[in-house]
Symmetry: C2
Subunit: 355 residues, 2 copies
């Protein structure tokens, strides 16, 4: 029988404490498991919400991280799809019930029984806690491991596992296609992936942002237009213009103003949410038969599709690579929006932590 | 040259005054016009809002009424589609620009230039005021006149012109089909048509209502289940149940509770709106990829399709037929929900008003 695996990591131990080195044990590699040496892990805003217990559901200590790229080190006896040495990814969840309608439809993220989140969750036994990617290794069932075929810049691939699929999912689900007028509200970790993916689909992309200084980046990423939303008078010329708006802004903001930019039958899709209810005027939906929708990451099948698509198209995230010792500083900078556009942790830097 | 036509009607002359007899002139029958003797006209809640200036846009005197069934009396030289004696209908609008994308798509209700509402609007000249169906005649361009093939009970056909198409439109647009789980929130003028139409499409219909005494009617109209919404504990067993909810309640109410009843990818569609913004928790959209939409009546092509469909299926409204002298009493009863399920005015009763 194989023995459990000692892992080195960084963990938060309470809502107000910095993340610091932490050791724990992963389960032994079972017949369906893949042992992955983690190379890179992106810092998602969810990591920060969880580390700080801002969603009031954190079980400490918590090892965040669900934008994981690594190398297969070992595989269980029944693992046929992966071999040691291969580059793979792990996203926001590591298991699900596999039986409900959603799981069978390849939309595990909506699993009726509840997915096993990659961190601050439990396995399907509802008992064993999960620990995320700010660590040197992870053990994951092969059905929840993704193939990565990008040939270089693997650090910049990591954010695709959450920010990439979160934006790719709704763009595909709502059928965004060539020449569609698409707006992306907010140019952060999610938004910048939304711009790149929407532009790659042939859409005419407009970035809606409160920061004038982001226009240059927006255009570099593929946006053709820029709506500086801090000036309300700029909204007029985009009224009834867009087929689809991908709203990546999770702070409270004026949804009616965004809805007014949609043409008939257009959709505003949110992928983030403030903790407080938002107001909307239903007339904005009725008068142009507009839709207001939401979308949650993506299933395994769709995440694989996204990874293959972005590899073919050479799409990765814009990142700032940091050693794990800078994670607390990176959190502070992420909260104040000072990141272009995603921090990624180089897990090689954990070396000293093991000492 | 033909002369204008003297019409007898009931009009509101101010927000607080009762409707009373009124005489005015309709335009002469032009080459593309149909002169219709009005037989029946439904009382829509919009009539009341307008008569009382509750939308702050009423031009007095106003002759309400946009659920019109009548008989063709005269046709212009270029009218080929209608002949005297034929039974026809007129709905919520009597013209539109005919050039914009929406008009060309047969969705005139979303006309960029703005439709000519049947009353309290203007013709496409943006000057000539329009007067509705609480009158003995109306003159309408042939392209905005509907054929009616119902063989009997014409009074009960009148509400189809607004309540019917308002509910048929979204049920069809969102593709409601056999065996779908559909809820209709609110069993009033709109809701009771929604139930009949959804049931006729083969959906399993649940009525959501605050009035326990409406269950019997709901089941008679085709509902299979009833959710008494005044008891919050009743919502539990319908969580994640419905493919589609048609929300006909225009008073403010808890939308999050309705959204929670939708299964993944389900849609909540509103066809009425309170004058105040409504709150929703975006997580309710995100966690099941639900959609929140709105819909506005229907275009001419779709209204004709609805009329043909309901004629084939023998679907009409449940009505209380009144002489026009009872219109003010009917308004009061409609406001307090004391109508099963639509008042329809018998315009023959106008006779004495002409004296």
């Amino acid at each position: 029988m194989k023995s459990s695996k000692l892992c080195y990591a960084y963990a938060a131990h309470g809502p107000k404490s910095n993340l610091r080195p932490f050791r724990f044990r992963r389960r032994a590699v079972g017949p369906n498991d893949v042992l992955i040496e983690i190379l890179y892990c992106g810092i998602c805003h969810s990591d920060i919400h969880t580390a700080r217990n801002e969603w009031q559901n954190t079980a400490y200590p918590v090892v965040p991280g669900h934008e994981i790229v690594g190398r297969v080190r070992e595989t269980g006896a029944r693992v046929m799809r992966f071999r040691p040495g291969q580059i793979v990814g792990v996203g926001c969840f590591v298991d699900s019930c596999r039986k409900c309608d959603h799981c069978r439809a390849g939309l595990e993220q909506y699993c009726d029984a509840g997915v096993s989140w990659t961190y601050n969750g439990t396995l399907q036994d509802r008992k064993t806690g999960t620990f995320g990617g700010y660590s040197d290794h992870i053990v994951v069932d092969q059905n929840y491991v993704l193939r990565i075929s990008h040939k270089s810049n693997l650090a910049a691939v990591a954010p695709l596992l959450c920010a990439g699929i979160t934006t790719y999912g709704p763009l595909r689900h709502y059928g965004v296609k060539r020449a569609d007028k698409v707006a992306v509200a907010g140019l952060g970790g999610l938004g910048h992936m939304g711009v790149k993916i929407a532009a790659s689909l042939g859409a005419e992309v407009t970035v809606i942002s409160t920061s004038a200084e982001k226009e240059r980046d927006a255009r570099r990423m593929g946006a053709k237009k820029f709506l500086l939303s801090s000036r309300p008078e700029n909204f007029g010329k985009f009224e009834n213009y867009f087929h689809f708006i991908l709203d990546t802004v999770s702070a409270p903001h004026d949804l009616d103003r965004l809805l007014g930019l949609l043409r008939r039958d257009g959709t505003l899709c949110v992928v983030g949410a403030p903790g407080v209810p938002q107001k909307i005027d239903q007339f904005n939906l009725i008068m142009k038969r507009r839709k207001f929708g939401g979308s949650l990451i993506g299933g395994i099948r769709e995440t694989q599709e996204m990874l293959d698509y972005t590899a073919r198209r050479g799409i990765v995230s814009d990142i700032e690579l940091i050693p794990i010792q800078k994670v607390n500083e990176a959190y502070a900078r992420t909260v104040r929006g000072d990141v272009k556009y995603r921090f990624v942790i180089d897990l090689q830097s954990l070396g000293p932590a093991k000492a």
